[in-house]
Amino acid sequence: MMLNAIDLTQLLSLFSFNRDEPMLFTSGLFWVLFLVFLPVYALLKSQRHKMMIFVIAFSLFFFYKSSGWFFLLLVATSFIDWWVAQFIDSSKNRTERRIALTVSLVLSLSVLLFFKYSNFVIWNINELINGNFQPLDLILPVGVSFYTFRTISYVVDVYKGKIQPTDDYIDYLFFLSYFPCLVAGPIVRARDFMPQLQENKPATREMIYGGLFLVMLGILKKAVFADYIAQYNNIAFGNPSGYTGFELLMAVLGFTMQIYCDFSGYSDMAIGLGGIMGFDLGINFNYPYRSLNVTEFWHRWHITLSTWLRDYVYIPLGGNRKGKVRQHINLMVTMLLGGLWHGAAWTFVVWGAGHGIALCVHKLSKPWLDRIESTPVTRFFSWLMTFSFVAFLWIFFRANSFHAADQVIRGILTDFEWAYLPVFLARRSTWCIMLAIIFGLHFVPRHVWDRMRDWFINVHWAVKLVIFIVLIQLVLQFASATVQPFLYSQF
């Protein structure tokens, strides 16, 4: 009777594009599909070409599930840029090579600009001329910012002669569509990835279980920590005027840790999946909140993005080769673009500008700062200043508008009372404990993490299973746990 009632279309809808439910590494459907993917991949791993075709098919399905037919855009981009790179490499004519590079850059950036910034431009035009242009009903293809940057780096590197283009289109499509990096990076370069693909070494025990360890760490950061603490941050940032200065400060601290757990957690999952498949995708976050200055922060935060911006924006603009003034202008332009890359809103531009100014100030004051003796006290104050500044700028990153950012800052500065601390701790104890744990874990030395990973790799299979089950149970427990929205201390 039940089987008769199965609606095949409904069953198939699980595998079709759903705008509201993109397939992420934290979704149950992904792991069910990965369970099907893994044995086939393992069987095909040694047959490079077949393995690539299979992974490409899975990656394109992954993209389709999240962005619908826009996956064809990725296929088109990959084909054009593969062909352009071949052309650039084979052509001896400098002008031809330049034209080819320009065409590739214009095409790639046009797609990115159209999908990501059209409505931002329309909004600005409306503001400027008091117009009434309607925003476009656009779907932002998932990961378009990431794969655009990866394809640009490939074509530019071929143009500069840093890498040889691949003759095989399948190689390039594999690189660009590779599903672990598709949604949120890391922005792996072809020069690091392609040699691994050519070599196609078998995955070792260390890579497979070290990868699983990273995936689990990522799930813990994203699905347990980030998603839980985000609840309160969303409530407070959604309505700053309803909260006291103390509560707003906690929301700022909460968002500071949430965004780290969110970004780095997703990166960990991607890098871990890459490891399971036998590819080293590098590292993307290196304990950024341990930084003692803003320059160091950018060496530790979203490393593949910051190095991309350095190599393909800052250095081509002249970097530090054209004098101090030009260097600071280049730095500002790079950080402004970096801000805009994160989101199509002026608040992101201000966030980027804040970091740009801080980087310039740090560069200018470096000779003076270097003369200060490095002691635990000076290091602590350097850390405190850096952390506070970075957390302050996250307000602009998170706030829905300048008005909301202003309300948050004003609230903290003018309506701050420690008296709220005990009530806050009592009513949102789990949230506070979680924030403290994230903060504490951030300062666990790297060698301790390495030892834990090595232990996990070598521990008995059954222990690994228990740890994995406990982790998923934690995700389930916290998925429905809620944070008290209002303290109502006045009642």
Binding site: M2, A5, I6, D7, Q10, L11, L14, G28, W31, V32, F34, L35, L38, P39, Y41, A42, L43, K45, P202, A203, T204, R205, I208, Y209, L212, D227, A230, Q231, N234, I235, G238, N239, P240, S241, G242, I276, N400, Q407, R427, W461, K464, L465, F468, I469, I472, Q473, L476, Q477, A479, S480, T482, Q484, P485, F486, Y488, F491
Partner: protein, 258 residues
């Protein structure tokens, strides 16, 4: 096949099987007083399997008229909800005064479908005040709840079961920010003509940025009344009482949940 891949695959399969089996206990499992949550595999599968049956039911239900005729008898109204009632209820009380209805107002500060659904408070109130019409205004404290459709559906269903056949109108939360799905959940689960979506309304907010000002809340209630008259499943006599507010026959206040 690489033996380590085999090991990883069996590990993932064992974990998945474990959670699929656990998900048969759809309401979770209590172990030593701790509520162990279970996944939604079985529930999701059941939902998928049930679609055809539901569609068939809906098709036959189409034959029935969903809108009852205008009821002109005096009502015994119970209005429950969160702090939003502070603004809404006095205006509804004015309509009740004008039209001969009796209103009992129950404000449970900071409450949500979770609070109401996991207690028997609604049943107690129904047994005590014997309403023949219920207004609910809940959801403002649930705008940001993750996985809300799974997390709150059971509590919402319990509330609906408690209300039984009593006609009701559920006034949705006055969103000040995008929600994670409470309005969608209410729209899907509540009967046709029983849910007033407030999310698209414009409000003047009080200093806390969340609650509408008293005047704005009164206009909100006016819009709800007009909507009941034009689109509600159970319209009843609610003639315009003119400007102003009144006091409910009885006001019950509960402290915020701990």
């Amino acid at each position: 096949m690489n033996k380590h891949y085999w090991g990883l695959w069996t590990l993932l399969l064992a974990a998945l099987s474990f959670f699929v089996v656990l998900s048969f206990w759809q309401d979770g499992i209590k172990v030593g007083g701790i509520d162990i949550k279970t996944g939604t595999f079985v529930r999701d599968l059941k939902n998928t399997l049930a679609i055809k049956i539901d569609s068939a039911t809906t098709d036959s239900a189409k034959v029935k008229a969903w809108r009852a005729p205008m009821d002109t008898t005096a009502k015994n109204i119970l209005f429950i909800g969160d702090s939003m009632l502070e603004g809404l209820a006095p205006r509804l009380a004015k309509y009740c005064d004008k039209n001969g209805h009796k209103l009992v107002e129950v404000i449970w500060y900071s409450s949500s479908t979770l609070c109401w659904g996991e207690t028997a408070r609604l049943t107690e109130l129904i047994n005590k005040y014997h309403p023949n019409y219920i207004f609910v205004c809940l959801g403002a404290n649930e705008l940001y709840v993750p996985d809300i459709k799974n997390a709150r559906r059971p509590y919402l269903k319990k509330m609906l079961a408690e209300m039984g056949d009593i006609p009701y109108v559920w006034i949705g939360p006055p969103n000040w920010d995008k929600d994670t799905g409470i309005n969608d959940l209410l729209a899907r689960e509540l009967g046709k003509g029983c849910f007033y979506l407030s999310a698209n309304d414009k409000f003047e907010r009080s200093r806390d940025g969340a609650h509408p000002t008293r005047e704005s809340a009164h206009k909100w209630m006016d819009r709800v009344i007009k909507w009941i008259d034009a689109n509600g499943a159970h319209p009843f006599r609610l003639d315009d009482p003119g400007e102003g507010i009144a006091r409910a026959s009885r006001i019950v206040v509960y402290q915020p949940p701990v």
